[in-house]
Amino acid sequence: MASESLILFFITAVVLVGSALIFSSIVPPRSNNPAKFEPYECGIETYGETWLQYTVGYYIFAILFLIFDVEAVFLFPWATIIREAGMTAFIEILIFFTILGLGLFYAWKKHALKWE
């Protein structure tokens, strides 16, 4: 099949989830009780806001991920043609990895990789 058929898989998934949700919102018996629609936490009423500022630690890892993921995008085409490109490409990637490694080393020494 051609690549356009990818939309078929999208439609199939939407149909599966959509039809199941429609079925489940019509057929099963319903009962109304105000307590049922409260957040499920500890049994007592929930305290304070939930949507608030969150630990900065996750943010640091997200930035690190971004750097290395962009690098991976560069590596994919490089990896497919390495046989034709030969030794030159190897030296180049060595330089590339050295710079990257220095970046990782810097983050490590700055305790950015430490969870606190």
Partner: protein, 362 residues
């Protein structure tokens, strides 16, 4: 209708020609789409049910129990009964939730798994779409699942859900790197990103045997990172029952919960299928050098059985991890990825490049 279990191209082309005799081209396209759509739906439903049953049986095996035994022979109908029960449960939307995003999240996780299945090669000629960039496609599409998880956790307006989603997000994006780099290591060896070409390149020997030490290292890293990416134990702290109730899907009930559950198992299948394609030769039979008699016997087993046999082997390994190792803490998970797997992967890529350039591989 020509049916050859060793090569499905004859079956698909005969279906195509058979339809073309009495339908216009648009009709052929719609009929084929219907056929493929229904078979993918059936596959996901049946395989998901089988995997849930298998998980419970494997868990029971490791804990010296019997597992589900009541519904049907050896409890074979247990997961079907569970599915019907979940389908007949009332759907609850918490009144504080962001209703649109809350309902969107199950769609996203399921759409992502279906899109990834499009590129999985089940047997020779039994692959829906053979992309030029198949490996990159699968890894990029399956990493979109984290959006569904984050949406689910955030929109529920529940503190446990938010914590679970944040942990899961940090974990999935971190291990995404290791998965990607193990894939790059194997792409260097294969010299192509097209899945059919990668499998064809393994007709003389699977990459895990021909790729020397780097392939073995990449396989181990891929297994660890793949386990983490599917949020399975020992990396299941996103849904750590004892501290977070159920993590990001705490507020989901009935069939919406079932979809998160299904997505987890289909993702498990996709990770195992990618491990099979890249390391264990996809649907290629096992061959040993010049032992022609042995090779002929191996060739007699149809490729589709080879594929599912290998996938089941990898799935069993990942289930084994889940029921053997204790759960890691978030700092341990991030340390493992950033201080161990990532540097090892970078060195591994260089080693593999050197081996390929020098022609040291078999």
């Amino acid at each position: 209708m020509a049916f050859d279990i060793y090569d499905f191209t004859s079956l698909t082309s005969s279906i195509h020609e058979g339809l073309a005799t009495f339908l216009p081209p648009v009709g052929v396209l719609i009929a084929e789409w219907l056929l493929v759509g229904i078979s993918v739906l059936l596959f996901v439903a049946v395989f998901g049910l089988i995997l849930v049953y298998l998980e419970r049986k494997v868990c029971a095996l490791f804990q010296q129990r019997l597992g589900p035994m009541r519904v049907g022979k050896w409890g074979l109908l247990q997961t079907i009964a569970d599915f019907i029960k979940l389908l007949m449960k009332e759907l609850i939307t918490p009144n504080k939730a962001d209703k649109f995003l809350y309902n969107l999240a199950p769609f996203i996780v399921i759409i992502v798994t279906f899109m990834a299945i499009a590129a999985i090669p089940f047997a020779k000629g039994l692959q829906a779409i053979d992309f030029d960039i198949g490996v990159l496609y699968v890894s990029s599409v399956s990493s979109l699942g984290v959006i569904g998880v984050l949406l689910a956790g955030w929109s529920s307006n529940n503190k446990y859900s938010l914590i679970g989603a944040m942990r899961s997000g940090a974990q999935i994006i971190s291990y995404e790197l290791s998965v990607g780099m193990s894939l790059i290591t194997m792409i260097i060896l294969a010299g192509s990103m097209q899945i059919s070409e990668i499998i064809q390149a393994q007709s003389t020997g699977w990459f895990i045997f021909t790729g020397h030490i780097p392939a073995v290292i990449a396989f181990i890293v891929f297994l660890i990172a793949g386990t983490a990416e599917t949020n399975r134990g020992p990396f299941d702290l996103a849904e750590a029952e004892s501290e977070l109730t159920a993590g990001f899907h705490t507020e989901y009930s009935g069939i919406k919960f079932a979809f998160f559950f299904l997505a987890e198992y289909v993702n498990l299948f996709i990770v195992s299928a990618m491990a099979t394609v890249l390391f264990l030769g996809g649907w290629m039979p096992f061959h040993v050098g010049s032992l022609d008699g042995f090779n002929a016997v191996m060739d007699f087993i149809p490729p589709i059985f080879w594929f599912f046999g290998k996938v089941m082997f990898v799935i069993f390994l990942i289930m084994w991890f889940k029921w053997t190792f204790p759960r890691l803490r978030i700092d341990q998970i991030l340390t493992l990825e950033w201080k161990y797997l990532l540097p090892v992967n970078l060195l591994n890529i260089l080693l593999m490049t050197l081996i390929v350039l020098m022609g040291w591989h078999f």
